[in-house]
Every structure is written in C-alpha cells, then in structure tokens.
C-alpha cells in the first residue's frame, strides 16, 4: 500500500459542497444509518470504506435521493447541497440528480448507441438547443471520461458492445453529461479487471479537478490510491472521517485500526 503518493489537501482552501448532519436512514424496522454528519468537499475525492452492510452505500444513495425509489426507506436529518436542503419538500429529485450524478457498481449502459447513452441526460433536461450543441456535449463528456479516442469512430454502435471498463467509462460520461457538481460512485471498479480498474482510477483523479467525487469502495488500497478524504463506516455509524493519509497511518478509533489492518470486516 503506497500511501505516500496521496497529496495532502489543505481543507481550508476548499469549501464543502455537501454538508450532511444527523442523517438517519431506516429500511422498515432496520435502522441502517445512525446519525451521520459529514462534509463533502469540492474538488476532492472522498472515499467511503467499511465492511459490507455498514451503510456506506445507503449514505451515498441519500446524497442524490436514490433511496426514494425504495418504498420502505425513511430518511431523516439534513443534507445541504450548496446550502440548500435536498430533502426539502420543494426539491424535485429529478433536478437534483442532474446536479449529483451517479455511477453504479455494475456498468449499466442503456441498450442504445454510445451517442444516445451520453445524450440522454442532456436531452431530457433540455441542455442542448441544437444538434451541434448536443454533439459538443457528447464529445466533451466522452473526452472527460477518457473514452473519446476509443469510440469516436463508432458513436452509433451499441453501448452494450463495449468492454466492461469502456462501459463503465461510458457510464461516467453519461453522468458527466448533465453537468453535475458532485459525482457519486458506488463501487465503480468491483466488476472490472485490474487494467480497467487502473484506467478508471486514473480517470477519477482527473475528474477531481472539476467535480466533487464520492466513491464507495471495498478496496482499502483503492481508497488510499484515489481519495484525499476517507470516511469509515461500521454498523451504520460513521466511525471516523478525516484525511486519507491520517486514516490509514494514524487512525484515531480502534475500530478503524482493526478494519484497515484486516482484523474486522
């Protein structure tokens, strides 16, 4: 584990994008997330780590209200995006999700062409007035996802025909195309081989220059490689949140230490 590569971020320079305080999630009678408060910084990669079922994905899905689709889920607490409560009654999750993009565990391109995959978001949000605008959005998004050079000659080919790593980058391009401020990634590399994983990790580091990236991962090495901030979840609690370097070298909580040294989880 080479943690020395991780640059130390001066938190004072960066303002928080998302400020969550006292977030509680219940699935029916199951108390899945207990009083989580965390600030997600702008232009930073934040990693959520922890054993399975610890609530890290649940919390991630609170950030763009994907938990709304689960009938039994109940979310309490406050999550502010740029100072506005995203669980306010006036907020339409459809608009929220254009500003908080999401990439899923398994690459899930639509069974449509590569172009249509990327263009779908801008189309439904009315982001492009002309065909040329849309073409540009698609190209920029694919470039940001480091996929343009591989697919520029076959934009009309089906997105499902790409390799696993390419599909995941296509999904990233699709998420980027709506011009989000925050990118949520739910174990984006767990279905990829090591080479594709390396490509996606490299991409995450580039995306950090424009977006606030939140990544859930099972791999502590990955968290150490790509993130500047790390949050450790355990049994629904946020146990520790801090600079990645500090979490991995000098954890404050004994549970964090047990997890990163491989004794629990």
């Amino acid at each position: 584990m080479n943690i020395m590569q991780t640059p130390v971020i001066d938190a004072a320079v960066l303002k928080p994008r998302i400020a969550a305080s006292g977030v509680q999630v219940h699935y029916g009678t199951n108390h899945a997330l207990k009083d989580v408060s965390v600030d997600i910084l702008d232009r930073t990669t934040t990693a959520f780590i922890g054993p399975s079922g610890c609530g890290k994905s649940t919390f991630l899905r609170c950030l763009n209200r994907m938990n709304d689709t689960v009938a039994s889920a109940r979310v309490e607490g406050k999550i502010l995006l740029d100072g506005q409560d995203i669980y306010d009654r006036r907020v339409d999750p459809v608009q929220l999700r254009a500003r908080v993009g999401m990439v899923f565990q398994k690459p899930n391109p639509f069974p449509k062409s590569i172009y249509d995959n990327v263009a779908y978001g801008p189309r439904i949000h009315g982001l492009a007035r002309t065909r040329a605008d849309l073409d540009e959005i698609v190209e920029v998004s694919l470039r940001r996802a480091a996929l343009w050079n591989e697919v520029k000659d076959r934009l009309s080919a089906p997105g499902t025909g790409l390799s696993g790593g390419q599909q995941q980058r296509l999904c990233i391009a699709r998420a980027v195309a709506t011009g989000p401020e925050v990118l949520l990634m739910d174990e984006p590399c767990s279905a990829l081989d090591p080479i594709a994983t390396a490509q996606v990790e490299e991409l995450i580091d580039e995306l950090r220059e424009r977006y606030s990236v939140v990544i859930v991962t099972h791999s502590m090495q990955q968290a150490a490689r790509v993130s500047q901030k790390t949050a450790f979840f355990h049994l629904g609690n946020l146990v520790e949140y801090g600079d990645t370097q500090q979490i991995f070298t000098n954890p404050q909580d004994p549970r964090t230490e047990s997890y990163i040294t491989g004794r629990i989880g």
Binding site: M66, A98, G101, F110, Y120
Partner: protein, 443 residues
C-alpha cells in the same frame, strides 16, 4: 475411527451403488422419451384425422353446363330491366338449369332412361339456381344467349367424387339412388364434372342443413376478425396500463396484493363463466344486441386481460433494475424511465403475451355460445363500426355448429374449418416466436 474413502476397488469395476444410479438415470431417460413419443403420437393422430377429413372441403364438385337463358321465361317484359327480372325466383332458374343438365347428358350420349328429369335435376345443388340468378341479374344482357356455367353439384354427388358416398350407401339413402350415381360416374368419365378449388368455402356464409355443399366460413372468419380487432384495441392498452401501474407505480400494500391474487385467479376462471357475465352485463343490463361481435369482443377482452397483465408484468419484471437505476441516476422522471427504457425493453415480452392471449381468444367458443353467437347467420355484417353491432358467427362456434348437423358432409366442413382455425393459430404463434427471437435480450 473409520477411514472415509470411496473404497479401494478398481476404477474399471463399477460397484453396485453406481450401477443402481446409472440404471435410475436410464429409466428416467426412457420415461421421458415415452412421454414425448405419446405426445407426438397424439399430435400425429389429430393431424391425420383432421387433415384426412377436412382437406377435401377446399375442393368442390362442379358440373360444366351450357345453359340456354330463355328470354321468354326470365324476362317476360323483354326490356332487360334487372328490377323487373327479380320477379323470377330461383324456382324459374332451377327449371332452366335442370333442362340444361338433361340436354347436356343427352348430347354426351349418357343413358338416363332409368331416371326422371327431376331425378337428374336433383344431382344439382339447390345453390346452383341461386348463383345462376345472381349472375343473370348482375348482367341482364346474358338473357337470350347460351352461356357456359359451372353448376354446383349436390352434396351427395360431391361425396361420391370424394369417396364418402358409395353405391352401397346410396341404396339406403333417400337423397340419392344407385341409378343416379351410375349417371354421375358416366358424367365423370365424360369430363362433365370435376373437383376443383373451392373459393366459396372462404367467402360463403353458412348454409342450411340441406346443402352442405354451399356452406362457407366467410361470416365466421369476418366475425372472428372483428372480435380480434376489438380484443386487441381494448385489451392491449388496458392490460399494459394496468401492469405498468401495478408493477412500477402502485404502493406495495394489502390492496395491491389482493388485486394481484385476483388477477391470477381470473386467468384461471372457466371461459363459460365469462359468457354468463357477458350475458348478464352486456346484453341484459346494457342492452347490446345478441350475436354481435361487439359483445363477443368485450367478453373475450375480459378473458384475455388477465393473460396480458400477467405476461406484461413478467416482462416488466425481467427488465434489469440496473436500467431503471441508470435512468433515474441521470435524472429521468419515473414516467421517462418507464416509457424511454423499461417499456421498450419489455415490449417483445408484452407482444408475445398479447399474441398468445389473442390466439386463446380466437379459439374460444364457450362464452360465445352464451351470448348467442351460435345463431345461424346468413348475411355478412357491414363494415365497422356498424358491423360490430350486427349478427356474425365465429370460427370455433362454426365448427361446433357444423359438427352437430346430421349430414356427414358437414364433418368434412367442420374439419376444414378446424384446419383454417389451426392455420391462424399457428401463424399467430409463429409471429410471437419471431418477435421473441428478433428482440432477444440486448442487455
């Protein structure tokens, strides 16, 4: 402590336990093959019996005649006015056509000394004068000329050519005598009468018990078509809308559970129960006409809906949740997610279910019996929408009706109708399979 091992015997010798296991597998294989063979045998028997009985209904015996259309008999006023010529009924044409047959036999040198002229004319179908009359009324200028005309032979003569009627059976038959058959045999040898393709089987309406040779499927096919149109137009949108609501939008609570259980149960309700419902609701309460395709279409819609809803819900369920996540994740609304992504992916499954539901409805007869579609319908219903309210028949009911009639010629007709019905069903099922193949899962 005992040693756990599979035994130290040679691998080349099969032990008793393995032999028993292999024998069980062989037995199971044989059971399976026996079951499949039984099924195939039953199918072959069904096809042989239906095709053997029914294929002949697509061919019909016609007698080639030169008919002298006597102006004095057909057009007394002599001005060739079709309206006035209508006064001459089929009886008048019957005499002319009978005379033409007697003349034709004399010219061919066939000995008819054993028969009266009336017995000779009885070789023709009662339908023949009607067709001649229709032909003349359509073109009055034919009157006064001698025209070639292919007259429909009677059912017994037709049966003789198809091997159904023999000299032996004619001895016991009040409708035909061996002497008449001898004349028919001579006519056949002279080439005066022959079997040819029978388009009127597809275009004629049903005919009375006395003239099976004129009975056709036209009204039944049209009635079935009208009903299928109504079923498709009503059940597809209603079924798909209900499925989308139940599968994607409805909250999961006790009410939706009850509705789901009831839909599954409705799919298993016997068809005749739907017939009683339709009789009470559509005819007695709402007052829609009896025997009408609209009522048949409505009752078949009710019957098909559960099938379509179940198939559609299965198809919607089969769309992976990751596609929904992806759409919601880029900010699509629920409706956009459903209509842009989920529904197109579920479409082949929905269409397959719909076609199979329609195929079932097409072959359904029990509810139609109760709403009066079993009536004898001689006239074609008009074009839609008025035609939906006019009496019509349906293919399966026509089969049922024909099998009930005494004349063995109707066995042939019924089998022919079954063949037509089966062809439609096979075509619909093939379409369903094609759709499924064409839009194989693409994710």
């Amino acid at each position: 402590m005992t040693e756990i091992s599979a035994g130290a015997g040679s691998l080349f010798e099969v032990d008793a336990r393995t032999r028993r296991r292999n024998a069980a597998e062989t037995r199971f294989r044989l059971y399976g093959m026996a079951a499949v063979a039984t099924g195939i045998l039953a199918l072959v028997f069904l096809l042989v019996s239906i095709l053997g009985n029914g294929l002949s209904s697509f061919r019909q015996t016609g007698i080639e005649l030169q008919v002298a259309l006597d102006a004095a008999a057909l057009d007394k006023t002599g001005n060739r006015n079709a309206q006035e010529m209508k006064k001459v009924t089929t009886v008048g044409y019957g005499k002319i056509i009978g005379a033409a047959l007697v003349d034709g036999l004399a010219k061919a040198g066939i000995d008819t000394s054993d028969l009266t002229d009336k017995q000779v004319a009885a070789l023709l179908s009662d339908e023949a004068p009607r067709r001649l009359r229709d032909m003349v009324l359509a073109d009055p200028s034919l009157v006064g000329r001698t025209v070639p005309f292919t007259a429909l032979a009677s059912g017994r003569v037709d049966g003789f050519l198809k091997g159904r009627v023999t000299m032996e059976s004619a001895k016991l038959d009040s409708n035909i005598s061996p002497e008449q058959l001898a004349v028919v045999q001579a006519m056949k040898d002279h080439g005066m009468l022959a079997l040819s393709f029978n388009p009127s089987f597809f275009t004629n309406a049903d005919a009375s018990e006395l003239r099976p040779e004129a009975a056709g499927l036209g009204v039944a096919m049209l009635g079935s078509l009208y009903m299928m149109m109504i079923v498709l137009v009503l059940s597809l949108p209603i079924g798909v809308a209900a499925s989308i609501y139940l599968e994607e939008l409805a909250p999961q609570n006790r009410w939706t559970d009850i509705i789901e259980v009831n839909i599954s149960n409705l799919a298993a309700v016997p068809a005749i129960v739907y017939g009683i419902l339709a009789l009470a609701l559509f005819i007695n309460f709402i007052g829609l006409p009896q025997s009408a395709p609209i009522v048949g279409g409505l009752v078949l819609t009710l019957m098909t809906l559960p099938t379509i809803i179940i198939a559609t819900r299965a198809a919607l369920k089969a769309v992976p949740p990751s596609i929904r996540d992806a759409a919601l994740g880029v900010g699509a609304s629920r409706m956009q997610t459903i209509f842009h992504h989920v529904l197109p992916l579920a479409m082949p499954g929905i269409l397959t279910g719909t076609i199979l539901g329609l195929a079932r409805a097409l072959g359904e007869s029990a509810p139609l019996l109760l709403i009066g579609m079993v009536a004898f319908v001689k006239d074609y219903p008009a074009a839609p929408p008025q035609g939906f309210m006019q009496p019509a028949s349906a293919l399966p009911v026509q089969v049922y009706q024909w099998t009930q009639r005494a004349d063995p010629a109707f066995v042939e007709r019924a089998s022919g109708a079954i063949i037509v019905l089966l062809v439609f069903l096979i075509a619909m099922n093939a379409t369903a399979i094609l759709l499924r193949r064409r839009f194989e899962r693409r994710w």
